[in-house]
Amino acid sequence: MTIEVQANLSSVQIAETIREAILEAIPGAEIEVSPGGIGHFEIRVEAGVFEGLGRVKQQQLVYGAIAGLLSGSNPPVHAIDKLDCIVP
């Protein structure tokens, strides 16, 4: 039980770190990060910079911002289960 609480706590912390990293790369973006299973997250980003970009380019902006959290041998983020990029 204790372990589960700790895992939840750190998931919330990681989610906040993800949010900050995206905000730094895309200032003014509306960002929601929802923790799923351990190391798994769903992200929703609404930002004006997405305007006129294809889906891949939009997602690359977000993935590029959080690349550091996804790389290495034991990264805090294992997988982004869902990434929605929305033009406001």
Binding site: R55, V56, L70, S71, G72, I80
Partner: protein
């Protein structure tokens, strides 16, 4: 590490520039090591005979580097003419939407509506299975892959699908499967593991027969082929034809990894064991398989009496 070091960036630049279609994946085209890579390979195989792959599992630097290089966190990753196209989900969507023809510059040929035979009992069981596994907007899909593996699944309809009606059952067939699926019969069978569907496909390649004279000509031609002796090691010791390789588990694994059009000739003592061995490879989708009629005994009798009979 969040920035890419120059030597790795240059290496990746060079890789993506040197191939018109390049897939970063886990494993290789013959043996993908993850389901996502396998799915993209099965899609690419529909469009292209030749393309390049890089196995990220064999190079940790590339494995981590490509994620930063592409700003994309997952493998597989597809590059076409130096441009990042997407990962598994995006490739799948592009395939479903018919976009990949443009991406690869491949002309879309019109699909035929395949004829599919389904008996009454089978139709009922198919309808039942699809009702149990899917909701509204879910359809039974039939596909026959390039290596002749048939699969039935329940999924949403894609814009590319060809609709087939047979005995009250609606089937969706992807445009790459239509020719290969034409004329097949789906049959409900009872097996030890329970009820299942068996597919009889008249288009699928079968094990060809080869006479000992044809084998002699082939051996003398110097053409490249795999010559596999499926008898026991002691029989092999007693009598064998030069060039034949004894079949064992290692050989099985080696042959299984070869391109599906590889010519493989099986030989045994009289013929039946060669048929069994060949069957293992027709099942895998190999298309150029032959069994020597009459086996090595026929060879001793009609081609080379020097080879002892036993």
């Amino acid at each position: 590490m969040t920035s890419l070091e120059d030597p790795i960036r240059e290496k990746l630049d060079q890789l993506v520039q040197s191939h018109s279609v390049l897939l970063f994946m886990k494993g290789n085209r013959q043996a993908p090591q993850c389901g996502f890579s396998a799915r993209v390979i099965s899609i690419l195989d529909n469009y292209l005979d030749d393309y390049a792959t890089v196995d990220v599992l064999s190079d940790g630097e590339v494995r981590e580097g490509i994620k930063l290089y592409s700003s994309w966190p997952t493998i597989p990753q597809l590059y076409v003419n130096g441009e990042f196209i997407g990962g598994c989900d995006i490739i799948t969507e592009m395939a479903d939407g018919g976009e990949l023809f443009g991406t690869f510059g491949v002309e879309r040929t019109p699909s035929i509506v395949p004829e599919i035979h389904i008996g009454d009992d089978t139709a009922e069981a198919l309808l039942q299975a699809s009702a149990q596994n899917g909701g509204p907007d879910q359809y039974l899909h039939l596909s026959v892959s390039k290596d002749w593996q048939t699969s039935l699944s329940v999924a949403a309809r894609s814009a590319m699908d060809v609709e087939v009606q047979s005995n009250g059952v609606t089937l969706m067939v992807d445009p790459f499967s239509t020719d290969r699926a034409n004329g097949i019969t789906i049959e409900l069978v009872e097996t030890a593991e329970g009820r299942g569907f068996k597919v009889d496909n008249p288009n699928a390649p079968t094990l060809g027969e080869m006479s000992v004279q044809e084998l002699k000509t082939l051996l003398e031609s110097g053409d490249d082929f795999e010559f596999i002796d499926v008898r026991t090691p002691s029989e092999f010791e007693t009598a064998r034809i030069d060039g034949a390789v004894l079949f064992d588990e290692t050989e099985y694994a080696r042959l299984s990894a070869l391109p599906k059009q590889t010519k493989i000739v099986f030989i045994c003592h009289h013929g039946p064991r060669g048929v069994n061995a060949g069957q293992q490879f027709t099942d895998q989708g190999f298309t150029n398989l032959h069994n020597v009629t009459g086996g090595i005994d026929a060879w001793s009798l009609t081609v080379d009496p020097e080879i002892p009979r036993y």
